[in-house]
Structure formats: structure tokens, C-alpha cells
Assembly symmetry: C2
């Protein structure tokens, strides 16, 4: 109607629309018709450019994931101390989520429960968990702790921390007034103080 636009532009518009609709409705309840309408284009164009509904969702997921990863990577200084790396990473992470509440709250949560995409998401999550586990292991080595630890221990711990971060990201997504910086501080506090105490050999016993 208004203008004929080049493919790359339309594709981004479609992805924007798709993210918005998927996030509002959930994967199944979202209809290709609505996505097309929100994108201001007709349905066959969506199929022509981005493929089937599954492929479209995957494309959304990958775009958002890439952006998130890049945002975090951009915030981190690889030469800094482990705790500062963590701090910078968390700041970038929560800032991103705060700015993309839609994208976060639903794409990641959504993908998790849809069997076809769960694997994809799980793989990304695993990469993050491994990075965090690496940081922990680095800090552990520096602390010259006298206890022994297995790789699985770091992994499980990292797993828990990532879960906590995701949970706080949800909190953030729901509390419009919460400052992402503040959320990052909360997280940093209990992660690092807790981890630090643990690494120094303090253990809880029944």
C-alpha cells in the first residue's frame, strides 16, 4: 500500500512483530495472520521470507539470543578479576532484560516449554552455565582452597546461579519500577558473598 521495501528491512519488521505477538499470546496462541498484520504485511510474505511458524519462532529466538550474548560480551572485560567480570556480566544482562522485557519474559520462558525448541534453548543455557562454572573454578583456584571439588559441583552451582539470575530477570520484567542496576547488585551480593564464603571452606552441616 504505502511502500515497497527491500527484503532485509521487511524481515526485521516481521521479526519485531513476531516477537511482540509470540510474547503476548504464547507460541501456539499466536497466529501467523496476526503476526503478518502487526508487521503490516500479508501472510504469504512471512512464509516467503522467514518460512514456517517453527522456523519463524526459531529465527526470533536466535536473534534475541544473539543480541543478549553480544550485550553481555560487550560489557565484560576479560582481563578483570573474576568477581568484576561477573559484576559486569550481570549488569549487562539485567540492563538488557530491562530494555527487552517482551523478548525476555516470553521468548526464553516460552521456548523452554515447547518441545521442538527446548533443545535449542537448553544448548544456549548450557554455554552460559559453563562460562559461569569457569569463573567459579578460576576463583577456586585462586583461593587455593584445601578441599577437593569435582567439575559437577561447579556445574551444579553455576546451574543454580543461572536459575537465580533468570528468576530475578522475571522479577525485573514484572516490576516496571525496579532499576536493572539494583537487580544486578542484589544478585551480585548473594552470589559473590555466598560463593566467597563457600570457597573459603565454610560449609553448612545438618
Amino acid at each position: 500500500m504505502l511502500k515497497r521495501l527491500p527484503r532485509v528491512v521487511r524481515e526485521q519488521q516481521m521479526l519485531d512483530a513476531a516477537v511482540k505477538v509470540f510474547s503476548r499470546r504464547g507460541f501456539h496462541a499466536a497466529s501467523m495472520d496476526e503476526i503478518a498484520e502487526v508487521a503490516g504485511i500479508s501472510k504469504p510474505m512471512v512464509y516467503a521470507y522467514l518460512g514456517t511458524k517453527d522456523e519463524l519462532f526459531l529465527a526470533c529466538l536466535q536473534r534475541e539470543a544473539t543480541r543478549l550474548m553480544e550485550a553481555v560480551a560487550a560489557g565484560v572485560v576479560p582481563t578483570a578479576r573474576p568477581d568484576e567480570q561477573l559484576w559486569n556480566g550481570l549488569r549487562a544482562f539485567f540492563a538488557f532484560v530491562g530494555a527487552h522485557r517482551d523478548g525476555w519474559q516470553v521468548l526464553y520462558r516460552q521456548a523452554r516449554s515447547e518441545p521442538p525448541f527446548a533443545a535449542e534453548l537448553s544448548a544456549m543455557r548450557t554455554r552460559i552455565v559453563e562460562v559461569v562454572a569457569g569463573l567459579l573454578e578460576g576463583a577456586w583456584a585462586q583461593a587455593e582452597a584445601n578441599r577437593t571439588a569435582v567439575a559437577d559441583d561447579f556445574l551444579a552451582m553455576a546451574f543454580a546461579y543461572v536459575g537465580a539470575a533468570e528468576s530475578l530477570a522475571d522479577w525485573l520484567a514484572d516490576h516496571a519500577d525496579e532499576d536493572p542496576e539494583h537487580t544486578a547488585t542484589r544478585m551480585m551480593n548473594f552470589v559473590w558473598v555466598g560463593a566467597d564464603a563457600l570457597l573459603q571452606g565454610r560449609v553448612w552441616r545438618a
Copy 2:
């Protein structure tokens, strides 16, 4: 064909089947036909006893939630020290998840992403978060800390801990060889050692 069974029995069979199918396929991909088939009964019976698909799912959710709550409540001794209450609660929680991997992994994760049920689940979650926040506040009061804290701080912290626990529950659901007791120990360690250090006034600074 085989036997005519009383209503209550059939209802439980149907719920069992529904949980299994919902967990395997996800809410939308699960068909009422398959649920009926797994339950060894015809579809109209499901409608007659448990109502529409939404109502059926809700019934599953509520049954599982109730069981979980009861399992945890049964494990906790209300007169014990806060850390022991937490320990007992966590043990019961992970034991339950370990024994009901199906129910957990999918019902809760599933419900979260389906708009019609998200509210229900969110309410349950909030109740748990508040209990944990209460425990933290109790411990805080006992520690006679000299810093000030707001209710929101405890809530956010509890939120993060619950997220971490859920994350470890997923880990447990995926690692058939992991012992629930061990998972509970992991959790207890970093929650309590971390919280303890925090409550004693140790704070991380940039």
C-alpha cells in the same frame, strides 16, 4: 470392555494419564484423544468427569501442586531453627521432584508459559516466596544485624533462591543418577552459607 469402574477411580486414572501426556507433549500438542487413550477410556468420559481441556489441565496442576505442598509441609518441623527448617523443606522438595520428574518438569514449566494458567502458578509461587522471605527475615532478626533492610529486599532475595531451587530441580529432573539428597545439600550450602555471610553484614562492592 474389561470393567466398569466408579467415578473417583476413573478420575484419578484420567489425571494420571493427563499428567503423563501433557508432560510428554506440552499443553497444546497434547490431544484429548491421546489422553483418553492412555487413560484407557473414551473421550466423552473425560469431558463428562473433568470438563474441558483447560479445566483438565487446571485439575492436574492443582493436584500436583497440592501434593508438592503437602510433601514439603510434612517434612518441616515448625519449631526448629530457621536453617533446619530450610534444610528439611529443601530435602522434601527435591525428594518430591525426584520422585515425580514428569509432573514437575512439565506441569510447572508448562503452566508458566501458557497465559491462561500463568496467573494460577504465579500465585502459588508467590506463597512459597513469601514463606522463604519470612524465614530470611526471622534469621535476620535473630542475627541482630546493624544494617537496615526493606521488605522488598527479602522478597527479591527469596525470589532468587526459589529460582535457584527450581533450576536445580530441573537439573535433577534431567540427571537420572543424581541423588535428591545431594541436590538438597548443594542448595543448602550455597543458600545458607551465602545468606549467613550476608546477614553478618558482609557486602560485595564494585
